[in-house]
């Protein structure tokens, strides 16, 4: 029951209007009354009503005509038709015109009570649906804002997402650990035709084969020891939505066969069950492993691979788009400053330079971790090199065999500057470049003492 719910009773008989009013006000509804269709239409211009009780037989404008006009002016209104002489034909006509129910006077108290419960429950569901849709739209709009990327490489990824997302095509997302494959999968889902459906993710590498099978297919009661009640699996939960299989490279060939059948037939059975369950979802998958190599090693089925890999979306590692690091660092900085409540103002140039020079084997996830750590341990107002010393020592290890030419250049320039006590002229001479070139490189690479 909502205290804000307004009911209008439209009946030419005063006794009926008063009786319904007396009934509803005891339940806390607000009740307005009209003795004719004309009066009802006039009242609704000044008073919004949620539910209308309309007598069918009224002089002048009858209830059916009023129903049509009410639904025209207020399509979401719940209109209940009441009559003393019901007929199936009239009832059907009323429902076709948009009435939500039809009551014959006199009705049992049970009937009226249950009817209002149903109407209010339906209204609450519709309102909740509207709110959720609005939140979904807001989330969809803000999802792109969550993607911090200035690099051409990531803009290419976004461009591919915009092309493939609206199609039902399976997309296979590749990339190193920590590049944001799940975030990419979510972005595809939010831009897809399934966006109003569920986004069901499962990390195939985190579960044993038995558990994974149960998670995906669900089980019936008694399917195995401990299965005390039936449980829906992710395949069922993903119906009309998106299923994201992360670390798909970890699943066994046997599981690949089972999943392939589901993808082709769009039906499956729960563990321990015999009933075929239909499911229709858009498949997204991801892995950091090299699936073509696994196929060669007979660890991955090629028929399953071709089914999941219609479109491949490769997310570049962070070291290949270092120009994204400052913006990402700023984003995580803001996030953790807000979380911790610390009064920090930013990074020093040297700190930024260290972030830019690092290889980021753990990619964005590692960057996030580093920034969080730096924010937590920061003593002053600015995050400087001292908050990133662990990064500096591990940077040296990461240089071995993993650095790009660009990173090698930065590292060498810094090393020579340190060796020359930051005398730019001597450093330039050592590097066999002119001073202005050196100054330009120092500025561009954010190299700081």
């Amino acid at each position: 029951m909502s205290l804000a719910t307004q009911i209008m009773v439209v009946d030419d008989e005063e006794a009926i209007r008063e009786a319904l009013e007396a009934w509803f006000i005891k339940d806390g509804y607000r009740v307005d009354k009209a003795e004719s269709g004309f009066e009802a239409l006039e009242r609704m211009t000044t008073q919004h009503c949620d539910v209308y009780f309309v007598d069918i037989k009224m002089p002048g404008m009858d209830g059916m005509e009023l129903l049509a006009k009410l639904k025209e002016k207020q399509p979401d209104a719940d209109v209940i038709m009441i009559t003393a002489h019901g007929s199936i034909q009239t009832a059907v006509e009323a429902m076709k015109l948009g009435a939500c129910d039809y009551l014959c006077k006199p009705f049992d108290p049970d009937q009226l009570s249950l009817l209002m419960e149903r109407v209010m429950a339906s209204k609450a569901l519709r309102e909740e649906n509207l709110v959720l849709k609005e939140q979904l739209m807001e989330r969809r709009e803000s999802l792109w804002e969550g993607f911090i990327a200035q690099s051409d490489a990531m803009h290419q990824v976004f461009s591919i997402i915009e092309d493939v997302a609206p199609t039902p095509t399976p997309v296979h997302i590749t990339g190193e650990t920590g590049v944001g494959k799940e975030l990419i999968a979510e972005a595809i889902h939010m831009q897809s035709q399934q966006s109003e459906g569920p986004f069901i993710a499962i990390n195939c590498g985190a579960l044993s084969e038995t558990l994974l099978e149960s998670e995906l297919f669900g089980h019936e009661r008694g399917a195995f020891t401990g299965a005390v009640k039936a449980r829906r699996g992710r395949l069922e939960m993903a119906n009309k939505g998106t299923l994201f299989l992360d670390e798909i490279g970890e699943i066994s060939p046997k599981m690949q066969v089972s999943l392939l059948r589901v993808l082709e037939e769009k039906t499956f059975q729960r563990l321990g069950g015999s009933e075929s369950i239909s499911t229709d979802f858009r498949l997204l998958s991801a892995t950091h492993r090299n699936l073509p190599q696994l196929i060669k090693e007979d660890q991955f089925r090629d028929d399953f691979f071709y089914r999941i890999n219609v479109i491949t979306l490769e997310v570049p590692p962070l070291r290949e788009r270092l120009e994204d690091v400052p913006a990402l660092a700023d984003h995580f900085f803001d996030l953790y400053v807000q979380e911790t409540g610390k009064r920090l103002e930013g990074f020093t140039q040297r700190a930024l330079g260290m972030l830019m020079a690092y290889a980021w084997p753990g990619n964005v996830r590692e960057l996030r971790n580093v920034i969080e750590r730096a924010v937590v341990i920061a003593r002053g107002k600015i995050i400087g090199a001292e908050e990133l010393t662990f990064l500096d020592s591990s940077s040296k290890d990461c240089r071995l065999g993993t650095l790009t030419l660009h990173e090698v250049e930065i590292s060498h320039i810094r090393a020579v500057l340190d060796a020359c006590n930051w005398n730019v002229s001597r450093t330039a001479k050592q590097l066999n470049i002119d001073r202005s070139t050196l100054n330009r490189k120092i500025k561009r690479f954010h190299i700081e003492q």
């Binding site: 009926i16 009786a19 339940d27 108290p109």
Partner: protein
């Protein structure tokens, strides 16, 4: 904790409710209703002599009495206690409902209860039902709407099973409202 009803603290225990019996009604049921109104709702009750049911309230096509018409008649009685509760043995209806166990004016003056559909082979159950319906309708008279607490006497009962599941008591919130109402009545009466 003992709840002292406002009326009980009034040294002049004037009746606040007249119990008006129509036609032949089980006298024990009437006494039990009066006792419960006093004990649970704190309403001093005066049982008036039996009178005939109003003829114009009978609806021949339905074989029932129109509760609304009888209540209007009760509300028109100016003498006696400020509240009127009619007790009738016949079946009641309203213009929209096929039957009612009782009917009342929300925050008004008069209410009516029918014992017709309350009968049970076990007299205790029958009398409890009579007491519950009466307390419920009188609660409406005192301004209470339906309560969401499932045990409260003001919770709506659309059938006899639901009625039987109610306790013969008000929830704390409804109890508070009743006390507030009775306080304003007794203070106003004293003045």
């Amino acid at each position: 904790m003992t709840i002292v009803h406002a009326n009980q603290s009034n040294s002049i225990e004037r009746p606040l409710l007249d119990l008006i019996v129509f036609d032949q009604v089980d006298k024990m049921a009437v006494s039990i209703i009066a006792a419960n109104l006093q004990a649970v709702a704190g309403l001093n009750t005066n049982i008036l002599p039996s009178r005939e049911s109003p003829d114009n309230a009978f609806v021949p096509v339905r074989g029932q009495f129109d509760a609304t018409l009888i209540i209007k008649k009760l509300a028109g009685l100016d003498d006696g206690a400020p509240f009127k509760l009619g007790i009738i043995a016949h079946d009641l209806c309203s213009p929209i409902l096929s039957f009612v166990y009782g009917e009342s004016q929300l925050g008004g003056k008069a209410a009516l209860v029918s014992l017709h559909r309350l009968f049970d082979d076990d007299p205790e159950i029958y009398y409890q039902r009579a007491a519950k319906i009466s307390l419920h309708e009188v609660g409406h008279l005192l301004g209470l709407g339906h309560c969401w607490e499932h045990f409260c006497i003001m919770h709506f009962s659309s059938n006899i099973e639901a009625l039987d599941s109610l306790s013969i008591s008000f929830c704390p919130a409804c109890e508070y409202e009743i006390n507030r109402c009775l306080t304003s009545i007794t203070v106003g009466g004293d003045e």
